[in-house]
């Protein structure tokens, strides 16, 4: 699909928790699970647009689930239905849904949940059985949608106030799954990938990086892979675990 840059109408921007929002905008061109967009609701400051994953795409509406972390996401959170948002996308290579089948573990850490709903939908649609593992600092959000689709939802929190106290990395036993998909903090993904690779289970990680162009032109987001340097924005953000964590 061609990448386009255009203004899109915001149809909703709902606050989910203290810091997490769900923005919906009109976008008719297809997007793939795991792809992302460069977003912008401001004029000149900050200079760069912000990369945000597709949380869902359905009926001509693209959804973004995002956490307010700094200036850009703060401005994003102030947008209202009826405003326009500048979108460049859909960008990058998402999860290879076509190559995945059987029993799948999907593992999220914090806002890493964002790109995983759309891929769970796609996997369930093609007949996969999906278990969802998620870790949050404290109060979880957005789980209902996963509960409706997944066979099991396992929850860990740092606080222990919800689900099991501890790390989501400890919950997952990759043996018995045909594939593991994960998005979350780098250290979490690395652990999950190592575990899965040790168990011989295919694993896909969705990486983050500081980005300027989002389309493979600036080489700001380069990461090392088994196949040489790759752009997270263009060749990723989803990579096969073994391509990134080569030392296993």
């Amino acid at each position: 699909m061609a990448i386009t840059y255009q203004k899109a109408l915001i149809t909703a921007n709902e606050q989910m928790t203290d810091t997490v929002f769900l923005l919906k905008a009109q976008w008719s061109a297809p997007t793939q699970p795991g792809q992302f967009f460069m977003l912008r609701t401001w004029d000149k400051a900050p200079l760069l647009s912000r990369p945000i994953s597709v949380h869902n795409w359905e009926n001509g509406i693209v959804e973004f689930l995002y956490e307010v972390r700094g200036t850009g996401t703060d401005l994003l959170s102030q947008a209202k239905a009826g405003d326009f948002i500048e979108l460049t996308g859909a960008l990058g290579k998402g999860f290879p849904v076509e190559n995945i089948s059987g029993k799948v573990a999907v593992v999220s850490g914090g806002i890493g949940i964002a790109p995983l709903y759309y891929v769970v939908r796609a996997l369930v649609q093609k007949g996969c059985t999906v278990d969802f593992y998620c870790g949050f600092r404290d109060k979880p959000y957005g789980l209902e949608k996963f509960e409706a689709l997944c066979s099991n939802v396992y929850l860990a929190t740092d606080s222990g106030n919800y689900g099991v106290k501890g790390f989501v990395t400890d919950l997952l036993q990759p043996e018995g799954y045909d594939a593991v998909l994960t998005c979350g903090p780098e250290i979490m993904m690395e652990k999950i990938a190592h575990k899965a690779m040790a168990a011989g289970t295919a694993v896909y990680v969705s990486k983050e990086s500081h980005m300027a162009c989002g389309i493979g032109a600036c080489l700001a987001c380069t990461c090392k892979t088994k196949g040489g340097p790759k752009s997270v924005c263009k060749d990723g953000p989803v990579f096969k675990g073994e391509d990134i964590y080569a030392d296993c």
Binding site: S49, A212, C213, C218, L219, P229
Partner: protein, 298 residues
């Protein structure tokens, strides 16, 4: 009306996409009609493929960005075999931006490029992100003289030397490069800058320093272009923070023959199309029939 002649080549308009911010052009092909551009300067090339720098490569600043890419590129030969053929189909002026790890690398790179159909060579002696071969040649006029005069012997293509704002004496540097055989000059490359991660109590970049670009630097870049244009005879390509047609016209009035757009491509991928339209409209409104009427007027 916006056509310009740069080192003997006619450009449709003076708007060239700056090296390192526009890949090899194809990345942007979905989002704008590349044939409407005045030109495209390739990502900085080196004789040997380079991974570039380790660690974080980008930080945002007030109206600017700092980059520490470090000339990641597949090498001149790969470029000639794989990227250049596509670029030459884009129906716009193609500049090969050439870096080096030492003078011999520059020479060999230039020889290889000379044998292709690339339209111009932009010699990058001003990258602050590589230790050897980058800015090392861009600070002192004597070092620049050596590399420019030797590369000059390796190619008959138009040779544009890209200057660093860190040159000890910029006007002297410009004159030296002109006298050493440059057909044109482009300036500025990025400003050596720094960012610190307070929480880690460390520099953000592994190399400590990296290059600042974007609207933040425009007022300084414009001054430098003005100074150089007043001093040299060869055409000057002005850049640094250009993000609008008005910005571009300021550089033309300061004396630039053409301009480049770098960081602003990240604000809006088709910003170059806006810039061209805005320049056109300003000229229409102000009865300017050719940029020659206003070039260097200030």
């Amino acid at each position: 009306m916006l056509t310009v002649n740069l080192c003997g080549k006619t450009l449709k308009n003076p708007v060239i996409c700056a090296s390192g911010t526009f890949g090899y052009g194809s990345e942007y092909a979905d989002m704008l009609d590349l044939s409407k551009l005045g030109g495209i300067s390739s990502k900085g090339l080196t004789l040997v493929p380079k991974y570039g720098n380790e660690g974080q490569r980008l930080a945002e600043t007030a109206s600017g960005i700092i980059n520490s890419i470090g000339l990641q590129n597949p090498g001149v030969e790969h470029f000639i075999a794989h990227e250049l053929p596509d670029m030459l189909k884009m129906d716009t002026c193609i500049l090969a931006n050439l870096g080096g790890a030492g003078i011999e690398d520059y020479e060999k790179g230039a020889e290889l490029l000379d044998a292709t159909d690339v339209h111009m060579i932009e010699l990058n002696i001003s990258c602050p992100n590589v230790k050897a071969g980058g800015i090392a040649y861009g600070v002192k006029s004597e070092s620049a003289k050596e590399v420019v005069s030797r590369v000059r012997k390796c190619t008959t293509k138009p040779l544009i030397v890209k200057l660093s704002p860190q040159a000890e004496n910029l006007v002297d540097m410009a004159l030296t490069c002109q006298d050493a055989g440059a057909d044109g000059l482009s300036l500025v490359n990025t400003f050596t800058a720094m960012a610190i991660d307070l929480e880690k109590r460390k520099p953000i970049f592994n190399n400590v320093y990296a290059g600042l670009s974007g609207p933040a630097i425009k007022p300084i870049a414009l001054r430098m272009v003005h100074q150089v244009c007043k001093a040299v005879q060869v055409p000057v390509v002005g850049l640094g923070g250009i993000a609008s047609g008005r910005d571009a016209l300021e550089f033309i009035m300061a004396g630039a023959t053409a301009i480049q757009v770098g960081t602003a491509n990240f604000i809006k991928p088709d910003i170059t199309m806006d810039i061209i339209t805005q320049m056109q409209q300003w000229c229409d409104k102000n009865g300017v029939k050719s940029l020659d009427e206003i070039r260097g007027i200030v």
